[in-house]
Symmetry: C2
Subunit: 306 residues, 2 copies
């Protein structure tokens, strides 16, 4: 058996499956995220319970962060400067005995979701995909030629500058950059600007709001794709729950990249290139299981700079 853990800021999902069918979860538990000790004790109880009959051979962890994901560096597997009260400087690996007993790899939550979607969801069958999430924060996970691109502090596209929309004078909410991508397009940014979630915008505010938000999301899509040539860009997170917003992003992407005349592959078929996630809330824990499967097969999916 193999195990995957998705450590989120509000809930932790643990799951186990068999190596030969890693995407089929045979047992799982959902734990509300409280203090580290209490939360991780519940994780360990689950892992103990499920391994009484059959041993767990590998563990994948996809965690909220910032989390250190470079095995060669100090404090590997630590959640460091998080805003989540009580979780600053928490070593996940030290608190989970199984992690010291079997091959274990830690990645970020969005890297985990990207791996899940790449393996069994909207990126299935491709070699290079990106998964961007617009929710409480803005993050991206990148798989390039079958390998996860990740290290301490990257990918981190939330803080890039985007060109401002001419009708947008909102100053943004990022404490460091004000109107960086996250400061303009995260759920809290949209709430601060319009007073409601994107899905509750109506009338003229909806038309303008969608155009503005989509313009920014299209820019980061183009940035990553121009640099890395990903074959598909998956866009998810609570903000994209607003009906029709993804279609507006597809429209804006055409403008941002120069349209069909410029001839870039990413605009050839917007419905094939820019897609919603397929695995919903399971992407993260499935990604963690994909990592564990790779560890058993000695094909680690992660590629980390020294």
């Amino acid at each position: 058996m193999i195990a995957g853990i998705e450590t989120g800021g509000t809930k932790v999902i643990c799951a186990v499956s068999r190596e030969e069918e890693p995407e089929r979860i045979v047992s799982s538990v959902r734990i509300t995220t409280t203090a580290p000790a209490e939360t991780i004790d519940a994780v360990n109880r689950f892992l103990d319970d499920v391994s009484t009959e059959e041993p767990i051979r590998a563990l994948g962890i996809a965690s909220f962060g910032p989390v250190n994901v470079e095995p060669s560096r100090a404090r590997y597997g630590w959640i460091t400067g998080t805003t989540k009260v009580g979780w600053q400087n928490t070593s996940l690996l030290d608190r989970i005995p199984l992690a010291r007993a079997v091959p274990t790899t830690v990645v970020s939550d969005v890297s985990g979701a990207a791996l899940g979607e790449y393996r069994w969801g909207a990126g299935r069958g491709l070699q290079s995909v990106a998964y961007a999430t617009f929710g409480t924060g803005v993050g991206v996970g990148i798989i390039l030629n079958g390998s996860l691109v990740a290290g301490n502090g990257y990918p981190e596209v939330g803080h890039v500058l985007v060109r401002r929309h001419p009708r947008d004078d909102f100053s943004g909410i990022c404490p460091f950059h004000g109107d960086c991508l996250e400061g303009l397009t995260s759920g809290p940014a949209i709430m601060a600007r319009w007073g409601v979630n994107a899905s509750l915008l109506t009338g003229r505010a909806r038309a303008t709001g969608y155009e503005i938000i989509a313009y920014y999301i299209a820019q980061v899509t183009a940035q990553v794709t121009f640099a890395l040539g990903v074959e598909r860009f998956i866009v998810g997170g609570g903000v994209l729950g607003a009906p029709g917003l993804l279609d507006e992003v597809r429209q804006q992407l055409s403008g941002v990249t120069g349209g069909p005349l410029a001839g870039h592959g990413m605009t050839a078929d917007p419905f094939d290139f820019l897609v919603p996630p397929a695995l919903g809330g399971d992407a993260g824990v499935l990604g963690a299981l994909a990592i564990a499967e790779g560890l058993v097969l000695h094909q680690p999916l992660t590629e980390v700079a020294p």
Copy 2:
């Protein structure tokens, strides 16, 4: 012996070296780029001459483009829709007999320069570096964990949108996007805007011009580094020949990334992170030799998406 060719729009450089000391060029020639037949005939004559005594075992080619660099796709090694008169739809591999006789790899000119700098220049000893060039056009080469990131049409950062500087109302010169990065920061864009090269700007125009150009270069530096965590960013090309411009980019990068408070590694030591190229005009042909060396050692440096 191994051979490297850098095919430029104005000149072609061919060089050979020995596998055991690939960075030491033992013979080379510089050919003015005219029509394809004439130019490539001169290349072939050089290759024939140098291989009379000792056979050439592998060939690396770094070419201007757009050039197809994916071996698995149709028209591999073709220069396709270039603006260079007479060179549209030219197959380099078909016109160089050596390329059919020994292992050969084709990359873009900026990928070649990036490989040269990574191997023997400003990126020596690191695992992940980017090399961006601002000249006739704007391009970037990326080496991630020791592998070149490249495919047909990427990396292609010239056409990303950057946030406009508040004091810049120039409409840009890109035929597709107007004021994309290349439309604002290429040599021709600077010439169109100020009437002189960046190095000839003086007085107030110099202060303003440097600030504007550096603001845009800093943004693409941050975009690529946020996404990929490169350890060093090399910035070259004719535009960066303007004295003091690189220092201004270092300054702007601090602002663009939120400064020391935001704590991103790329701002910790700007003089270590953001550097000029070390190999000058030899970077491209040395990169081509690095590719050829990799082919002999069966360690291809290129990693190409299918």
